[in-house]
């Protein structure tokens, strides 16, 4: 028995050595996802980006990923594991990985790190994000045009700047059509739990909302909308197959071009930590086809989309904060730093922001 074990161990060692030798020729790029790649939402889209990288670079790049990594202390182990496994560039794709990634990046100065949706940078740690809020402004306009009740239900995960920014952009869009538009907000304290999201959608519809918006990752809220004959918007992916009669459009993330560009830079040796934040203009965010909408509303949405692609920022003054105090003067445009750290609501949001 002992002999057999030794033989096995020796074989394993040879195999892993062989694997390591082979890995040196290829660039190993790795990803850490907060949800399962099969969520058909946020993590799914990042993984589509990873697959685009594989397709683009073929034999030159090898990829690996860890899915379902919990935010917090667990994440640190995940990053460290990838770093020790020979990854040369590691993408952390969720806000909650920030501190873990900062720590691990400091430990492994030769490895390149990128963190999505956060704000902490380092010598070998870049940040990237997509301007989802641009899409949220567009759906805000659609919601205000289409809602008979003048009330939308908004399902949200955690009170982080990304989410707060989304709510505010949505409301700015809605208010540009109907200044009295109301939003009911429910926090489910989870990025991904179809059951909880469905329950929240039902509660919001029961309380009079007739349009559902979500900043969580599953298709469940749209399915509830479809069952009730009401409407909503897809999140991260085009979710039309789940709600052919209910989805107006979806804010689709497209990470592929960014990942290809950055990994290309690593291969060329020109990678530097950067702060990249791209939106509709660059194609990092795009709107799924407008469906179930009257022509004029769809046309207006396309017009807004074009305006944003032309460089207009939805966070352009005058905008007041929730308590009525002035935030942006007439014509003043919010700077990225304020947006990325956003921890306040704008006027007209009837909810207390959890702190």
């Amino acid at each position: 028995m002992k002999k057999l074990l030794i033989a096995l161990a020796a074989t394993a060692a040879t195999l892993s050595f062989a694997a390591a030798a082979q890995a040196q020729e290829k660039l190993k790029a790795c990803w850490v996802y907060v949800g399962p790649i099969g969520d058909f939402g946020y993590s799914y889209q990042h993984d589509q980006g990873r697959l685009a990288v594989e397709k683009q670079f073929g034999d030159k790049v090898e990829t690996a990923y860890l899915e379902n990594v919990a935010e917090g202390p667990d994440a640190e182990r995940a990053f460290e594991r990838l770093a020790r496994q020979g990854c040369k560039i590691i993408f952390g794709t969720s806000f909650g990985f920030m501190d873990a990634e900062v720590k691990v990046a400091a430990k492994f100065p030769d490895i390149k790190f990128e963190h999505a949706t956060g704000y902490k940078m380092g010598d070998n740690l870049g940040i990237y994000n997509a301007r989802f809020y641009e899409g949220r402004y567009v759906i805000g306009q659609i919601a205000a045009k289409q809602s008979k009740a003048g009330v939308a239900g908004y399902i949200v995960s955690f009170p982080i700047p990304e989410v707060v920014m989304g709510i505010n952009a949505f409301m700015l869009g809605a208010q540009s059509v109907n200044p009295d538009f109301k939003v009911k907000i429910v926090w489910v304290n989870s990025w991904f739990d179809p059951g909880k999201e469905a329950d929240a959608a039902k509660a919001l519809f029961d309380q009079g909302a007739d349009i559902i918006v979500q900043h969580t990752d599953s298709t469940a809220p749209l399915q509830v909308a479809q069952e009730r004959g009401l409407h909503g918007f897809g999140q991260a992916s085009d979710m039309i197959t789940f709600a052919p009669k209910s989805q107006y459009t979806a804010i689709v993330d497209d990470w592929g071009p960014y990942y290809i560009e950055r990994i290309g830079e690593v291969l060329a040796g020109t990678w530097k930590p950067e702060d990249r934040w791209e939106g509709i203009k660059e194609g990092a965010v795009h709107m799924a086809p407008y469906t179930n909408l009257p022509d004029d509303v769809a046309a207006k949405a396309k017009e807004t989309e074009a305006k944003i692609a032309g460089g207009w920022n939805p966070f352009t003054g005058p905008v007041a904060k929730q308590d009525g105090s002035e935030w942006l003067k007439d014509g003043e445009v919010a700077d990225d730093k304020t947006l990325l750290g956003m921890n306040f609501y704008i006027k007209g949001v009837d909810d207390k922001l959890p702190q």
Partner: protein, 306 residues
């Protein structure tokens, strides 16, 4: 009035999977076996239910596939812990991990496809009665099954001879063995029953609750079911109460948020857990009774001496 009915029906939908998984685990634990793999068996039921319903277009076939897959998966646990006498805690945990991974792999091709939904019951006239019609005669079929299951399990455990035997095995497998009872056979059946229930609970998720397949869609419900069994001190009707308190407080807090009640949402989200524990601890506060209900040989491996 309509909104009240809607809320009550939402609560029933939220409580049903917890209830079914917990009632199955209750029988397993009453036989003296601790199966921490509920989450894993449940998620197998979810993928089994979705997959079979999608491929055949018939959600009823999905329902049976979910039950069968859950039971089959629990058989793995039974062979390991009962025939090979492995550590139940470790085996149960690995069952969960294996189930989550395996279901994700099996489901790769089902991601992004809308599923088949089990239709709600509809009896002409009866379902159309205002208010109580939909509550009593308009729910999904698994809801009715869950209520029948609770009553049947309560009756079986406390009103039948076989139930008594099962409980005696849970209390002292050595004594039961000495009396000539086939401990291992009983436990096999209990574990498989628990697996079938977990599979059914999982199938409820992908056939009723949210008709779709995504990895990890059980999202910890198996663990809540496990906790319910303990806090309900192994009593079927208390499991029923616990599942519905959990569901009611969960849905209630969502409505409180939508209504705009100025209480921190983090607190509201933790409320279902707090409320369920507090209530169940209060009704189980008689220490002697609780001791009596706790299966004394829970989690201990049994190897019959030959």
């Amino acid at each position: 009035m309509d909104i009240t009915v809607n809320i009550l029906m939402t609560i029933a939908t939220a409580a049903t999977p917890l209830l079914i998984a917990a009632i199955g685990e209750l029988v397993v634990e009453r036989s003296g076996v601790l199966n921490l793999g509920v989450e894993g068996m449940m998620v197998m039921g979810t993928i089994g239910g979705f997959g079979a319903a999608y491929l055949t277009g018939n959600p009823w076939i999905g329902l049976f596939a979910g039950i069968a897959l859950g039971a089959l998966f629990s058989l793995l646990f039974a062979v390991m812990t009962l025939s090979l006498a492995t550590n139940q805690v470790a085996t149960g945990l690995s069952l969960t991990i294996l189930g989550l991974g395996l279901s994700g792999m099996m489901g790769t091709n089902f991601v992004g496809l809308p599923g088949e939904r089990l239709p709600n019951l509809y009896i002409p006239v009866l379902t159309d009665i205002p208010v109580i019609g939909r509550l009593l005669f308009g729910q999904d079929p698994i809801f009715y099954l869950s209520i029948v299951l609770v009553i049947a399990v309560a009756w079986f455990l406390f009103r039948t001879r076989t139930g008594l035997t099962l409980r005696s095995i849970g209390d002292s497998h050595t004594s039961a063995h000495a009396l000539g009872i086939q401990v291992i056979r009983y436990r096999y059946l209990a574990v498989i029953f628990g697996g079938a229930c977990a599979g059914l609970a999982g199938a409820h998720l992908s056939l009723v609750y949210t008709p779709q397949w995504v990895e990890n869609m059980t999202a910890g419900r198996g663990w809540i079911a496990l906790a319910l069994v303990v806090f309900a001190s192994w009593r079927p009707l208390r499991v029923l109460a616990g599942a519905y308190i959990f569901g009611a407080v969960w849905i209630g807090q969502l409505h409180a948020q939508a209504f705009g009640i100025p209480v921190p949402s983090q607190f509201l989200s933790s409320l279902p857990y707090l409320a369920t524990i507090v209530v169940l601890v209060l009704i189980s506060r008689n220490k002697r009774l609780t001791m009596m209900n706790t299966p004394a040989s829970l989690g201990q491996p049994f190897v019959p001496d030959r």
